[in-house]
């Protein structure tokens, strides 16, 4: 299994009618991460995921998955498990029947693992899928996906509809699976707070375009917040400025700089958090630069699994 990347796109675009839901998307997401696709509603996250799992056809460019397989090809379908937004299930089927259905439709299905997970979650096998709570439906969909033992798990807004406890439990299951099975995860969300704990790779999208992507550690190491007098904010040109926010006399600049870059006199440099970084990029871009990607060095996820899991 020589899979270096889970998704490769090149000039990928998708148009619905006259509107481009996604355009000029060129990405290479390395395997072995929990990659988070973040952006406001309508940013093109679902479109990108639909293209990756083969539900949609590109209008421009190309997309391959699992190290070179065309999206939607038999090998791609076999290796990718997808949990769509609102976790669609057949509501009139029982949990046991959903297991049997999924088993029939896939080359591999770990029935024992699935049943054990459901027992642990307290989801009765005889109950109709439609009678489960929202959290239980999401857990069932996730269990079905994981029992296929995919190499890539794709989750579209998995926790958007869940209450905080269900949200926590769901992400815990995802993280356990990544630790145990070594499955790569690509998930989309507009809930930033949830991701800080789980994601070690970030793709930020805005208005159908990818704003920035890279490993979380690298992104955090290459961005700083500079705080200084608001009057001087416009004169800062040493490093590229991503976003400026002003509060009375003070200005906060989100800049692409490392800890080694010099700080102008009268300014203070702070490290940045993931949420702050994401918000900076997702607010109105001050420069039209879309090539702000930070391709970091490939890092095996097993190097620091605890950091991801805890």
């Amino acid at each position: 299994m020589n899979m270096k990347t889970i998704i490769d796109t090149e000039g990928l675009g998708k148009r619905y009618g006259n509107t481009w839901a996604l355009r000029e998307c060129t990405l290479a997401i390395p395997a072995g991460h929990v990659a988070a696709l973040v952006g406001p509603n309508g940013a093109g996250k679902t479109t990108l995921l639909n293209l990756a799992v083969g539900l949609a056809e590109p209008s421009a460019g190309r997309v391959t998955v699992l190290g070179g397989h065309p999206a939607g090809s038999p090998a791609a379908l076999d290796g990718i498990a997808f949990v769509a937004q609102d976790t669609p299930l057949y509501k009139n089927l029982s949990v046991a029947e959903m297991l049997h259905l999924t088993r029939n439709l896939n080359r591999f299905f770990d029935q024992r693992q699935a049943k054990a997970r459901l027992a642990e979650l307290g989801i009765p096998l005889k109950r109709k899928a439609g009678k489960l709570s929202g959290g239980q439906q999401a857990q069932l969909a996730l269990t079905l996906a994981l029992a296929r033992r995919p190499r890539l798990l794709v989750l579209d807004e998995p926790v958007a509809m869940l209450d905080p406890i269900a949200r926590h439990d769901f992400m815990a299951t995802v993280l356990t699976a990544t630790a145990e099975d070594g499955v790569s995860v690509l998930l989309s969300s507009h809930v930033l707070a949830e991701l800080e704990r789980v994601a070690d790779y970030l793709i930020l999208m805005l208005r159908g375009r990818v704003r920035i992507f890279g490993e979380v550690d690298d992104l955090l190491a290459t961005h700083r917040v500079l705080t200084g007098p608001a009057a001087e904010a416009d004169r800062y040109t040493e490093r590229p400025v991503v976003h400026v926010s002003r509060a009375e006399a003070q200005a906060h600049l989100l800049v692409r700089a490392t800890a080694d870059d010099p700080v102008p006199p009268g300014w203070e440099a702070h490290p940045i958090g993931l949420e702050e970084l994401a918000l900076g990029y997702l607010r109105e871009p001050i420069a039209a630069s879309t090539s702000a990607s930070v391709p970091g060095p490939a890092r095996g996820r097993h190097a620091e699994p605890s950091e991801v899991a805890r």
């Binding site: 498990a81 999924t102 439709l105 145990e180």
Partner: protein, 341 residues
Amino acid sequence: MTALTLQARPEQDAALRPLPWRRMAWVTWRQHRMTLAGVVVVLGGLAVYLWRTGLGIHQAWNFIVTCRPVNSSTCGYAAGMFNTRYVPTQVTAGLLLTLAPALLGAFVGAPVLAREMENGTFRYAWTQGFGRWRWTLGKLVPLAVVVAAAAGALSVLSWWFFAPFFAENFGTPLAPALFDLRGVVYAAWTLVAIAIGGLAGMLIRRVVPAMAATLAAYLGLAVLPGLWLRQYYLPAVHTTSNNLPGFAWILNQWYTKGGKFAFAGVQKSGTNAAIEQHWCPNAPPSETLGQCLSQHGYTQWTSYQPVTRFWPFQWIEASWLVVLSALLIAATIWLVRRRAA
């Protein structure tokens, strides 16, 4: 969460062999067994209706056939009663049998894809390892074939039901409203109805509108061949004879004089009365208009399809319907492969 011992996942082959079709059998059965139960109820109910009323019809018919002396008032009365009483029954049965394939198409065919699109479950179904075009084929084809076979079984019963009406000189079995209720074409029409439903579901993506569209499209299509197509399956026979073979399907009549077309025939012409008034005002009642006109140098022509062509026509129609069904299913699969999300 406690660690679970995991089964080892087999490594992937370089060339993945598709999952076997039999995997879809359970899926299709489980997801459509209620629909199939509904089919059994509807077709079963129709069968019971045909059987119960058919028994009465056959009993009455046997009485007429065995009634002696034939010219007695009892026999004449029985024959008259048969027409009064059972011809409306036959019309009702014909109507129900005509509607059945349309309903099957709407209730069995249309929801197959429309429900998946409406509920969003296609996102689940089409991202499983089985593959989406094979999933579609594995659902539509067995459903269409099973339901068409059930309709075929019903058409055997309708053959028996209609037998007395055709034995009496009731009409030609080739007549537009009756031809497709019996024989192999009934099953073939049901097949088309379900294929139309499948395509409508994929095009419209909502269950109820797709069902309505299926009903409309099927009924529209079902009317056309009887009116404009079936008569051309084989070249019509043209004759100047007044004695047509029994049960012939008369298509047209016209008159010629001196080898040239004179006027359209009795059947199609609104000027019938005028012609009669002009040429045969005093013809005795025993003489037909054709016989009267022939005395004035006119030749009556009739084009018709002999009833011996019933089975050739059945196979011709069934063949193109099967081809049409295959094309509709192919179009559905083409759409499934192209426009999912």
